[in-house]
């Protein structure tokens, strides 16, 4: 479904600091896969997501989505079929608006943002049922400003919002990293439920090796702009956190740390 072909991405091009992160990088994802991506800082995980979403332009190469070339498509156009949850819980919703207003706004994603009232009373019950499934009591706080919610609550809301319209691809950019252990566990379970129910293709970058092992049906480890480890299906299911840790150590030794 997604193919990245011969991607080249340089940073600080034309300066003495020029670094080439991706040098003819190839990567593809099948429809329905839930891919966990792990790797040390600077290995290119987040850049990969940014290139896919269009937040960063590629220097060379092609990005295909269902065979369609989206290499030069603007970020907001890609957002029509890509949902994204960021590490920062503040990015996934709008602090100055209420929960209800945020959801109503996201509900219009497929339609037009014209002069009809944003909040439709008939949809409130639907929003409530969506929020009830988070099990955080958000459904009773529809008229509360999102800015006053906790990080975990906001991330749950961001997940609901990202999944509200039918998307083809869900991008999770270390979406549990800023949360306390209990909240991050909860958000991860919620994520898994959403992904299973909708069967949406998902890419999840995480530093939590246990999450990477326990969830998803494919695991990729990145290092210096390359995929150095890629397991799917049965092989992935048998992976243990220990296997990943020793792999991490090997890389560190190679790098001379």
């Amino acid at each position: 479904m997604i193919q990245l072909q011969d991607i080249v991405k340089r940073f600080h091009a034309g300066t003495p600091d020029e670094t080439t992160l991706f040098d003819h990088f190839n990567f593809s994802v099948e429809r329905g896969q839930f891919v966990s991506i792990v790797g040390s800082n600077g290995s290119g995980k987040t850049t990969l997501l940014n290139l896919l979403c269009g937040s960063l332009p590629v220097d060379e190469g092609k990005i295909l989505f269902d065979g369609r070339d989206i290499t030069h498509m603007r970020e907001h156009r890609r957002a029509a079929f890509i949902g994204r949850v960021f590490q920062d819980p503040q990015k996934g919703s709008c602090a100055d608006l209420t929960i209800l207003e945020n959801m109503a706004l996201a509900d219009c994603k497929r339609g037009r943002y014209g002069l009809t009232p944003a909040v439709s009373r008939r949809r409130i019950e639907y929003y409530r049922t969506l929020l009830e499934r988070c099990g955080m009591g958000l459904e009773d706080r529809l008229r509360v400003q999102v800015g006053s919610l906790s990080g975990g609550q906001r991330q749950a809301l961001a997940l609901v919002i990202a999944n509200m319209t039918d998307i083809d691809l869900l991008i999770l950019d270390e979406h549990t990293a800023a949360l306390d252990p209990k909240s991050s566990e909860r958000i991860m379970q919620l994520t898994d439920r959403f992904v299973r129910e909708k069967g949406v293709t998902t890419l999840m970058v995480t530093h939590n090796l246990r999450f990477a092992v326990e969830y998803g049906n494919r695991l990729v480890m990145m290092h210096e702009g390359k995929c150095i480890f890629d397991r799917t299906g049965e092989e992935k299911a048998q992976l243990q956190v220990g296997d990943l840790l020793s792999l991490f150590n090997e890389i560190s030794i190679e790098c001379g740390n």
């Binding site: 907001h76 990015k91 919703s93 709008c94 602090a95 014209g114 002069l115 009232p117 944003a118």
Partner: protein, 318 residues
């Protein structure tokens, strides 16, 4: 009593007109978080457009709408400079404000040219239309009694009622707009542009719409000011940014705890409070030359006070 009524009259008349400007600044400054200096140019733009059109016999109500449209056009230029050419907000405002000085001069000079025995004579820099019909002297305004007797002295009722109605119409229209899909997207674009991107919309478009609306309202205020004075000149733009900002900041910080008031109502009240302070100072004998100085000084006080209040509560600066 006469002095008090005088202060009240000036405060209400000018306060409600400047409330329209303040609502425009509220859109750009508070909602979009865009410090927009172009209002210093769009207020006189609205004034000179209205002045010239009235001199040519155009219906004064239509003049208000045309002025709004001209202001919106100028505001969208500010937005385009920022969104398409990636110029910083402050610079965009400066560029548009500066070029409007020429454009306004051009409009008023071209519009006041008269056909004389030796062909066209050059226009002047002030459009005077004291005797022509304005929104204050045509139907349906004429239904309002011109003045009433209060404690033995005449009180100019008509002007105040009309500007009150205009300010309220603008406020309620803005309130309504901000609850529509387009308006809510505008609010989102100001507080989290990334969120708008994720909703598959270009946050730049929302920003341009907001700047167009804000400057449209500024030009509308200019149009009403000109019609109230019966003349339009280029100097009236001076200090409009400060006036608008001060009304917004004073209103939002004085009435911060009043939960039942919408922010737009607070802005209208802020314009009245700010205008009242200025009027009282003038009545107490402050020389006219110091008016702009006082405007800036009052804004400084408002900013410092807001900051101090926020620090106590641990909030952010306005």
């Amino acid at each position: 009593m006469d002095a008090f009524l005088g202060i009240l009259r000036v405060t209400l008349t000018e306060g409600f007109i400047y409330a329209v400007l303040a609502l425009g600044v509220y859109i750009t400054y508070s909602i979009l978080d865009f410090p927009d200096l172009s209002v210093d140019g769009t207020v006189p733009l609205g004034a000179v457009v209205t002045g010239v059109l009235i001199l040519h016999g155009v219906n004064p109500w239509l003049c208000c709408l045309i002025s709004f449209a001209c202001g919106a056009l100028a505001g969208s230029v500010t937005g385009l400079l920022n969104v398409k050419l990636k110029i910083r907000p402050l610079l965009c405002g400066i560029l548009v404000m500066t070029s409007l000085i020429s454009i306004n001069l051009l409009i008023v000079k071209t519009g006041t040219r008269v056909e004389g025995p030796n062909g066209l004579t050059d226009g002047v820099t002030v459009a005077n239309f004291f005797t022509d019909p304005t929104i204050f002297s045509t139907a349906p305004t004429t239904l309002i009694p011109k003045s009433v007797q209060i404690a033995g002295s005449a009180f100019q009722l008509r002007t105040i009622v009309l500007v009150l109605i205009i300010a309220l119409i603008v406020k309620y229209l803005l309130d309504w707009y901000l609850t529509t899909r387009s308006g809510m997207l505008l609010r989102a674009a100001g507080s989290n542009a990334q969120y708008v991107t994720m909703l598959a919309r270009n946050p730049g478009v929302s920003r341009i719409i907001g700047l167009a609306l804000g400057n449209g309202l500024a030009a509308l205020a200019g149009s009403v000011i000109a019609q109230q004075k019966g003349s339009a000149d280029l100097q009236m733009g001076t200090g409009m940014v400060v006036l608008g900002l001060a009304s917004v900041i004073v209103g939002l910080s004085i009435f911060r705890k009043v939960r039942f008031l919408r922010p737009t109502s607070k802005v209208v009240l802020g314009a009245l409070v700010y205008k009242a302070c200025l009027t009282i100072a003038m009545t107490l004998g402050l020389p006219t030359e110091l008016l702009n100085f006082l405007m800036a000084a009052l804004l400084t006080v408002a900013l410092v006070a807001t900051h101090a209040l926020n620090r106590k509560k641990g909030g952010e600066a306005l």
